[in-house]
């Protein structure tokens, strides 16, 4: 652990003559764990695979042979599932949207655990801070969003639905590009970047305070600053616990909202 930190700090210490080694993008790049040909298997990929294994294993144990009178694991998993359904899906889509639970339910727990890996010792890396894991989800959501929109309103009707009715023509000149931009670029972009940036920033914050704790630790006045920095580590840890859950919640809630938006006949 200390070795890792020292490595992250680039071997710098407060009295070793070099400045504070601020963490940056380099903290999000990893040396490959192993390489097959030109393909390098890195730590974020390992995290993603592990998350998938854990999520599948947990829900498989809980739901593979569901019982009318549930055991402990099934009760817990049911509680989680029903929460996702009642707090995320139904407020946006109502009961008719239960079909989309098959997307929202895996998506929520996948994102949540990918985020939570930020706080799990030994891993301590949120896979969602690598945008390569975020864009596939955004593409799936937008694929579905557009598909449902075209199906509900027709291809041209869908684009027509973007334009609000009862607006003067000269405003439409501004409004149409803005609306098209919003639906085609801004919404998917923000959906992805919101998740990515939150995880990126969270990891950066934790790294900053962890390195600072190590960097300033010495038998001097620096010990006080190190203690302050350590307190910040715990504080940010708790904050990130909240943010991990919240970002999974927001991503899936927005997904549900977008699906509902597509299904609505009148805009």
């Amino acid at each position: 652990m200390t070795g890792d930190l020292a490595a992250a700090a680039g071997g710098c210490h407060i009295f070793s003559g070099c400045g504070y080694p601020a963490p940056g993008l380099q903290n999000f790049d990893f040396k490959p764990l192993f390489t097959i040909g030109s393909f390098s298997f890195t730590k974020p990929m390992l995290v993603a695979v592990l998350v998938a294994v854990v999520v599948i294993a947990f829900f498989w144990i809980a739901f593979a042979k569901p019982k009318m009178i549930p055991g402990k694991t099934q009760s817990l998993a049911e509680l989680a599932l029903v929460q996702v359904r009642d707090q995320i899906l139904r407020p946006a889509l109502g009961k008719r949207g239960d079909t989309y639970l098959q997307l929202i339910f895996p998506m929520f727990f996948f994102i949540f655990l990918m985020n939570l890996m930020e706080l799990i010792p030994l891993f301590q890396f949120p896979a969602m801070s690598r945008i390569g894991f975020v864009w596939p989800l955004v593409l799936i959501v937008y694929g579905l969003y557009w598909y449902l929109g075209f199906k509900a309103k027709g291809f041209f009707g869908y684009f027509k639905g973007m334009i609000p009715s009862g607006v003067p023509a000269f405003i439409l000149i501004i409004l149409i590009p803005v609306e098209v931009l919003k639906y085609l670029i801004v919404q998917p972009f923000t959906l992805g970047v919101r998740l990515f940036a939150n995880m990126f920033a969270g990891h950066l914050l934790l790294t900053i305070f962890m390195i600072a704790t190590w960097y300033m630790m010495s038998l001097s006045i620096g010990l006080l600053f190190a203690a302050g920095s350590l307190f910040m580590v715990f504080f940010v840890f708790l904050l990130e616990l909240l943010v991990d859950l919240l970002q999974a919640f927001i991503f899936t809630t927005l997904t549900a909202t977008y699906i509902a938006d597509s299904l609505e006949t009148a805009h």
Binding site: G24, F39, F63, L81, L101, Q102
Partner: protein, 202 residues
Amino acid sequence: MITQHLADAGAQNPLLPSWPEFIIGTVVFAIVFGVLGKILLPRITKTLEERENAIEGGITRADEAQAEAQRVLEQYRAQLDDARHEAARIRAEAGEQGAAIIAEMRERAQAEARRITESAQAQIESERQAALQSLRSEVGSLAVELASRIVGESLADTARQGRMVDRFLSDLEGQAAGAGAPAGAGRSGASRSGAGQPGAGR
């Protein structure tokens, strides 16, 4: 210094995905989606629905049973009311029938009594007639014989006999009618026997 770090790490734009990660992310999520969304979710949804149905079914069954009990109770009450009405009706009918039977019986008894009285009167009348008839012939022949013995002359002439007997009987009847009541019959009998002294004396 940051640019230096960037250069050192060879970092790319963080918004552009590394394609191996993109592919791994897609595959991994597809697997999670397939197992959770397509295999496990339908199973648990079915179980949840079954449980809900079982609970709701229980409530529904209880409601049904209660409604059934209520319905049966009302039915019983209605039947009880009907029975009460029926009983009252039967009682009233029985009273009426009893009265009718009594009236009929009384009627019949009176008719019977009347019939018996009439037949008795008729019989008495016929017997009286018969007695009168036989008395008339007997008394006639006796009187004629008596008279012929007393008078000594033959009264064989039937025409004369008849006239005599008729006159005699007319007298008798006239006396009897004059006496009236059966109580006076004895007296008239006495006077008659007094009148018929020659016959009685014999």
